[in-house]
């Protein structure tokens, strides 16, 4: 499974309140989340997310269990997230909705070309290739299917 996109660099400890604030959760309209993603962190960030690979510091997605956070990133056009570590609920949520994650610590400049080969466990950023911590076979299978719901429907 291969993903590529332009790097959007973010710091460590990005919490789910920063990804999508609590005041926008009471809706099923995903365009609301797309519009307000990262609003309190940087109001201009949303525009740069289409086709992006987020490259963040450690502990990305900490805080609440709100699945609207990875959904907001996905509907905003984020193709994958790379970070040295993820908060565990965010990690499961992202895989479950078909948003690929890669655990790696890499240097990031905004706009760098990022290529990820999840099956091979490799990432290339600005021409430099390195290993990522491999995902479990179960997670790779889920991502390949596009998330838990389609994986579930395929199996039954």
């Amino acid at each position: 499974m291969r993903i590529e996109g332009h790097a959007v660099c973010l710091p460590a400890d990005i919490d789910t309140d920063q990804i999508i604030a609590g005041r926008y959760l009471r809706t099923k309209d995903r365009s609301v989340w797309k519009r307000h993603v990262f609003e309190d962190l940087d109001a201009d960030l949303a525009e740069r997310l289409d086709g992006a690979v987020i490259v963040a510091g450690k502990n990305f997605g900490c805080g609440s269990s709100r699945e609207q956070a990875p959904v907001a990133l996905k509907v905003a056009g984020v193709r994958a997230i790379v970070a040295p570590s993820f908060a565990r609920i965010f990690f499961r949520n992202a895989i479950n909705i078909g948003l690929p994650l890669a655990e790696a610590e890499i240097l990031c400049n905004d706009g760098d070309r990022v290529e990820i080969d999840l099956s091979a466990g490799m990432i290339t950023i600005a021409g430099k290739t390195r290993d990522i911590r491999p995902l479990s076979p179960r997670m790779l299978e889920m991502l390949a299917a596009g998330g838990l719901v389609s994986h579930w429907r395929q199996k039954r």
Partner: protein, 404 residues
Amino acid sequence: MPSLSERILAGVAGEYVDREVDRAYVHDGTGVLTYETWRALGTGEVARPSRVYVLFDHIVPANNSTTADLQHELRNFALFHGLQFSDIGGGICHQLMGEGIALPGEIIAGADSHTCTLGAFGAFATGVGATDMAAIVASGMTWFRIPDTIGLIFSGTLSGGAEAKDLALTYVARLGMDGATYRALEFIGDGVSSLSMDSRLTICNLSVETGAKTGMFYADQVTREYLMAYGQETAIQDPPDRTYNQEYPFDLGAIEPVIAVSPRVDTIRPVDELAGIPLDQIFVGTCTNGRYEDLSRFAAVVRGKKVKVRTIIGPASRSIMSKAARTGVLSDLIAAGCTILPPGCGPCLGAHMGVIGEGEICLSTSNRNFRNRMGVGGEIYLSSVATAAASAIRGEITSPGGMV
């Protein structure tokens, strides 16, 4: 010897296992997306309706038509499928599950990060997202990676103005916001027996703020007596005679009143160092500190006095509110000028009742002080109930020393 997580999940750390979930719950915030995803699965089935709980607490009563419509839909789902349902006013999901439902040794999944609160009973309780929960509702099962365990070894007893919340903030600061990511915490040692169930619930509640999957106490005589009052006869879990790869000792007698300053839970300062900072709002409540012990402690300080800053009290459940009414705690709070909310999460997540304005500072007994969480441009400082009470009387951050 195996950790409590390894015992309950029946495997060894690092292993991936599929397990039946003993109890699963959602609230009105995460329930909507869970229901939507469950419908997308297309099975139309709820595996074990008697083990699935829908508990309204996040925006209660509904604040506008959109929320009302979403709650209406979720309520109908719960009632149609015969799920265990608590409507507005019942209380916070974690508290309700802690009133004689969650039991030692159980595997519990909740669609909320603070599900780890129930580790206080010696259960393996952890937060999941809506899609995981939808699959649990449909199948009764989920997968876990059995976590490594970090031991927090307690000795001595809390003293002076310090309470369980100060201990909790202190260990979060020691471990850091991601110090326990993918791992579980176990609270053991001689100091444990002096901690009430209410205190243990507070201590476990904060474990997710270190990134932990859960934080657990071994069920002991205190647990047993607490559950007995709810008619639950439970066994004691013997703590292991073991060491941990990572251990942190805590002398409870040395714990001081602290405040976690905006915007990080792991950044604490002694209350004394912050004394005098003027406050715009005080909030006492939530799944962290909205229990009877908390309300009672607050009332003991403000009884017969007037609060000097707007003060919001949110009892964590109807039974807590009811007990506070019976014992006179509630009327003491009202007489002191506090505003009482219906049982629920109140303003903690910034969506409802008690949102703060730009430039305002709220001293809160909740568990998160993230930027803008309780209102855009507002700052949240986290403290114990005793610190909140002393501060309410002065209208500024005040050390609880001598007032409790």
